[in-house]
Each structure stands twice: as C-alpha cells, then as structure tokens.
C-alpha cells in the first residue's frame, strides 16, 4: 500500500510544482491546492497505512489492539486540511481582488509594488 501512495504523492507534487511555476496566478492557486493535498497524503502515508483494525480501544482492554491504524496522522491531517482550506479561500479572494485592481493575472505584469525602472539612487548632493 505504501509504495502506491508514495507514487501518488509524487504525482501530486509533480502536478503542483508544474502549476506553481506557471505565470498566471489562478494556476498558481490550483498548484497550491494540489500541493496542500499532496502534503496531507504524505503525512497520512508517513503514519503507516492499514485498514484492517480501526484505532478504537475495545471495552475489555486498555490499549490499542496490535496493528491498529495510527490515529495521530489523521488528527494532524485534519488540522492541516482546515488550515490549507482556509488559506486557499483567502488566497482565491486575494487573487480575484488583485485581478480586479491590477487588471491582469499575469505575474510578470504585476509590478505595482516593484516598478520596472525605479529611479537610481542619488550619487551626490
């Protein structure tokens, strides 16, 4: 199961990096969405994959049965999903606003904060 997931995570990273390298901010947003999911899958795989024994302590025991799924990565991923979802929502609004205000979603042309030809520093009085 783990090698399969490793390959899947690799594919996700491949797609995410490809999209992140794009010029257009909306594609970058898609890349970020995929990157977030890639990382979540990575965390999930890191915590050992099983699906036979759920991480529930039976009534007559005080510890997990052997070979149970690891609940911690799922808690971590839950946190990471919430965070990456909220960030993606924020970034999408920001991108839309930037498109409205700056009039382009081409990152090469988004140079309001860093103009192309700033004045040279003064050399004398």
């Amino acid at each position: 199961m783990e090698p399969l997931f490793a390959i899947l995570v690799g594919l996700f990273f491949f797609a995410a990096v490809y999209l992140l390298l794009s010029k257009f901010s909306i594609r970058i947003m898609l890349g970020i969405a995929i990157l977030g999911n890639a990382v979540n899958l990575l965390l999930f795989t890191a915590g050992r994959l099983t699906r036979e024994v759920p991480p529930i302590i039976p009534a007559d025991l005080d510890a997990l049965p052997a070979g149970a799924a690891n609940p911690l990565p799922q808690a971590l991923i839950l946190t990471a999903i919430v965070i990456s979802f909220s960030f993606l929502a924020f970034l999408l609004v920001l991108t839309y606003r930037a498109y409205q205000d700056i009039g382009t979603d081409n990152t090469d042309e988004m140079r309001v904060a860093e103009p192309d030809d700033p004045p040279l520093p003064p050399v004398g009085y």
Partner: protein, 516 residues
C-alpha cells in the same frame, strides 16, 4: 506506536492537575488570543481597541518577563495539555532562548501598538488592526514557546494568516500586489515545513522536540536525516528570507502601513531564524555539521546580497527590507559556525534585530511624516529642523551597521570571532564587508536626508508622544545593550549552551526519564 495488548499505559496519563504556576508557560498565548477575541466582540467600539491593545501588550511584556525570570531560576519549564504526558500529548516547553525571544517580541509589539495610535487611522482600526496585532502576537509567542514541532507549524500558520490581514489593511493596489507575492511564497514555505514534519514523523514516530532530540542519536545511521535537515533548512530559510529564497520580502515589506512593516521586520523573519536554530542546533546537530559549509555559503551570500540590494534602493522602506536580509545572513553565519560562541552570537543578533528593525521602520515612518516622502532624494534638512530626531536616527543607523558603542557591535564581534576560530576567514570577511556596505548605505541616507538642505520645507508637524515614546524607548534599549552588553551576553551564552546540550530541556519534558 500502537502498544502491544495489555501494556499498561496509565503511566502516560497525567493524574495530578497542572500546578497553577505552570499556566505561566501558556499564558502569553492565551492572553493574546483572549484579548483578540474580546476586541472582535467589541468591533462596534473601535475606540476601545487601542486602549485594550496597549494595556494588553504591556501586560504581555510583564508576563514574558516573569516567565523569563522563572526560566532563569528554574531552567526550562514544561506544561502538558490535556491528560496525556509527552511524547503523546502536546507540550509547551520554554527554555531560555524561547523566553528571551518572546520577551523581545512583546517589547517590539508594545512599541508598535503605541506608534499605531497615530499611524493607523480610523479606517484601519475598523478593519481590525489591533485584533490582528493580538492574534499575530499569539502566533509569534506560540511559536517561541511550544515544544512540539507540529504545534510550531500551527503557530506559523496563525501568525501567517494574521500577517496577511495586516498586510492588506487599506487595500491599495500596491498592497494587493505585495500581498500576493508575500502570501503565495510564504504559504509555499510553510507547506515545505509541513512536508518536513511529515518525513520527521515517518522517521521518528514522534513530534515532541525533546523526544526527537533524544531519538536522533540512535537513528543517525538508519534514516536520511541530512536530507530531512536540508528540507527544514529550505523551509525555514524561506520564512527567514535567506538568499536565494528572499525575494518575497523586498517585494512586500514596503507596501503596508509603516507600523505593520515595522512589526513584520521585527517579528516574522526572526521566527524563521528561531525555528532554524531550534531544529538545526538542538534537534539535528550532527546534520547541521554536515550542512554547515552550505549554510555558511548561503549566509555569506545573504549578507552581501542584502547589503548590495540596500545600496541600490532609493526608497527608505525598501532599503530597510534589504537591511533585514543582510542581518538574517549574520544570524545564519552563527548557525553555520555552530559552536556555542557562534550560536550565542546568533541569539544576541536576533534579539538585537527584533528591537532595532522595529525602531528603524518607525524612524523611517517618522522621517517620511516630517519630510513628506519615503524617497531619499526627496527628503532633506531633517538635522536642522529636528536635532534630537537626527541624533536618535544616527544611533539606530550606527547600531544597524554594527558600529560601537551600540548593540549591533557585540553580536557582530562574536560572530566574526567565532568564524575566525573555526578558520572560516572568508565568512568573517563577508560579515565585515556586509557591515561596511551597510555603513555606506546608512551614511548616504544620513547625508542626503538629514544634512542636505531641505528639498521641500520640513513640515511643522509636532512629533507626538505616541511616536516619540516607542522610538526613544527602543533607542534606549539599543544604546543600553551596546554600553552594558554583559547581562544580555551572558543570557545569550546560557541560551546557546542549553541549545548545544539540551539535557535540561529534555529533563523538563520527561522528568521521570524518557519512555522507550
């Protein structure tokens, strides 16, 4: 980590209630979140925000000072959340380094909140400047005080989302452009950090820093720890704006209100450096050794490129952005050297930089307020019009260049000596060259903006106490620690010592010995 059937795990459960004094460890975070929430509830009464924020941050300074005192007296302090003991439960562990950084951050934020009384207008307050500031401080304090690496990630995100809010306060075109770059690149940086955490968990099966420090020794041959360390290095270097992943900083730090720039400059990159020191020096020291040449090269490049970038700017705010980067290079050099001396230089530099960068941006804001522009070419005549303001500026400029007798001098001396001690003369040369270029840069600002006759008449605005008080207080700190460096120096050395030998830290997390 599933225990075999029948294992008695009750030893991992906390049965006694947490002592009241241990709540001090988490109080800075709780305090900030509660006040932020309170302000959100009072969003119809914006006038109250400023009062709550200033008083609340003053209280935060006191809390952090008491915490620092406690850590100085008793060594690292741990508080465990819930009833699970580490490594299962979440632990907040404060050592000297974390407490020092938290105190410096609280002082900087208090100065910022005072300056914000004049700098942030009614609109900015209505958009929630002060609640964002409190939540930012919650994130920053949490990052400095936590003892769990996934928690560190969460606090990074808390401070990141608050910083997004602060950055676009006002929604000008420039700000939105700067915020796009800042947001995307920082989010990628934290995602890299999360990837590293995933691998860390895969290798160690634990996320508690003390537990990792313990287990790292046994796994050195079995696991690709150098790769892991490199991943952490990349992620935190991105947060700290290290060359070549620094370009989001000069693209965005000059766009928001000046007090927001000041807060970012004082706090955010230092959180990256803090995390870098914590992970590279305390958790993975052998791997740091393996990567030290690369860290040193990157640090030297950061110092020089930052200083050259600063030389090329005409806008004071953008220039200061590059000065931050140059300073980050200095701290990185200390990490690369890695001896207790080198790390103590980094710690000292980080503390000095929190205060100084805050003060420099506030100074730039005040200069622009008097001269009407952030462009060096348009300013002038400040020396004639405002003598004491020029004096304060000169002190801060000299401190930024690392010249005596101000606080920038000592960490630079320590770092140069530490690099010479290990034979890295080129690293010492880079640090000194960086300092020299920064001196030229600030010399030019002083010459053009202060000594040169006024280009436009200097505005007759009085400098209110809200601006003067934080500036003078921060300058006082810079001067004080320049003239009497001994207390801070010994604290920085003790902090570096406890990072190099985390036995006390580990003992504080596992008082009854570590579980297997």
């Amino acid at each position: 980590m599933a225990a075999p059937i029948g294992t008695d795990l009750s030893a991992a459960l906390l049965t006694a209630p947490v002592p009241a004094s241990d709540w001090l460890v988490i109080l800075p975070v709780v305090h900030c979140i509660m006040l932020g929430a309170l302000m959100l509830m009072l969003r119809a009464h914006v006038r109250l925000h400023a009062v709550i924020a200033v008083l609340g941050l003053a209280a935060l300074v006191v809390i952090d000072a008491v915490l620092l005192k406690r850590v100085m007296d008793d060594g690292p302090v741990t508080m465990v959340m819930g009833r699970w003991l580490p490594p299962f439960g979440i632990a907040f562990t404060v050592d000297l380094f974390g407490a020092l950084m938290a105190l410096a951050a609280a002082i900087a934020a208090l100065a910022g909140s005072l300056y914000a009384l004049t700098d942030i207008d009614a609109g900015g307050r209505r958009f929630g400047f002060f609640p964002f500031l409190m939540l930012l401080m919650a994130g920053v304090s949490g990052a400095f005080l936590t003892g769990d690496i996934f928690n560190l990630y969460v606090w990074f995100e808390v401070l990141l989302i608050s910083s997004f809010g602060l950055l676009i306060l006002g929604s000008e075109r420039e700000q939105i452009d700067g915020a796009m770059k800042y947001a995307v690149l920082n989010l990628i940086g934290t995602t890299l950090f999360l990837i590293a955490v995933g691998y860390l968990y895969a290798i160690f099966g634990t996320l508690n820093m003390a537990d990792i420090a313990l287990k790292a020794a046994g796994l050195r041959d079995a696991a690709p720890l150098v790769t892991l360390a490199a991943l952490f290095l990349l992620a935190f270097a991105m947060k700290a704006a290290v060359f070549p992943v620094n370009f989001w900083l000069p693209a965005s730090y000059h766009t928001p209100r000046i007090v927001v720039s000041a807060l970012f400059a004082g706090l955010l990159t230092k959180v990256g450096i803090y995390a870098l020191i914590r992970v590279m020096v305390m958790l993975l020291p052998v791997e740091r050794e393996a990567l030290s040449l690369m860290i040193a090269l990157v640090g030297a490049a950061t110092v020089i490129i930052g200083a050259l970038g600063a030389l090329a700017q005409t806008d004071i705010r953008r220039m200061l952005g590059y000065v931050i980067i140059s300073g980050i290079g200095n701290m990185l050099a200390g990490i690369a050297v890695g001896t207790p001396d080198g790390v103590s230089g980094s710690v000292f530099y980080a503390l000095h930089s929190v205060v100084l960068m805050m003060a420099l941006y506030l100074l730039a804001g005040q200069a622009a307020c008097l001269g009407g522009s952030f462009q060096i070419g348009a300013l002038g005549g400040l020396y004639r019009e405002r003598g004491w303001f020029a004096a304060v500026s000169l002190i801060l400029f000299l401190a930024a260049c690392g010249l005596p007798p101000f606080s920038g001098f000592w960490p630079k001396v320590i770092l140069v000596k530490a690099s010479l001690d290990i034979g890295a003369w080129w690293l010492a040369a880079a640090l000194l060259t960086g300092g020299f270029l920064t001196t030229i840069c600030f010399g030019r600002v002083f010459l053009l903006a202060y000594w040169r006759p006024a280009q436009a008449p200097v505005k007759a605005v009085a400098i209110g106490w809200q601006s003067a008080l934080p500036l003078l207080a921060l300058t006082g700190l810079v001067t004080g620690f320049g003239i009497l460096p001994e207390p801070l120096l010994s604290l920085a050395q003790a902090a570096a010592g406890s990072l190099a030998d985390p036995a006390a830290y580990i003992h504080s997390v596992f008082p009854e010995g570590a579980p297997n």
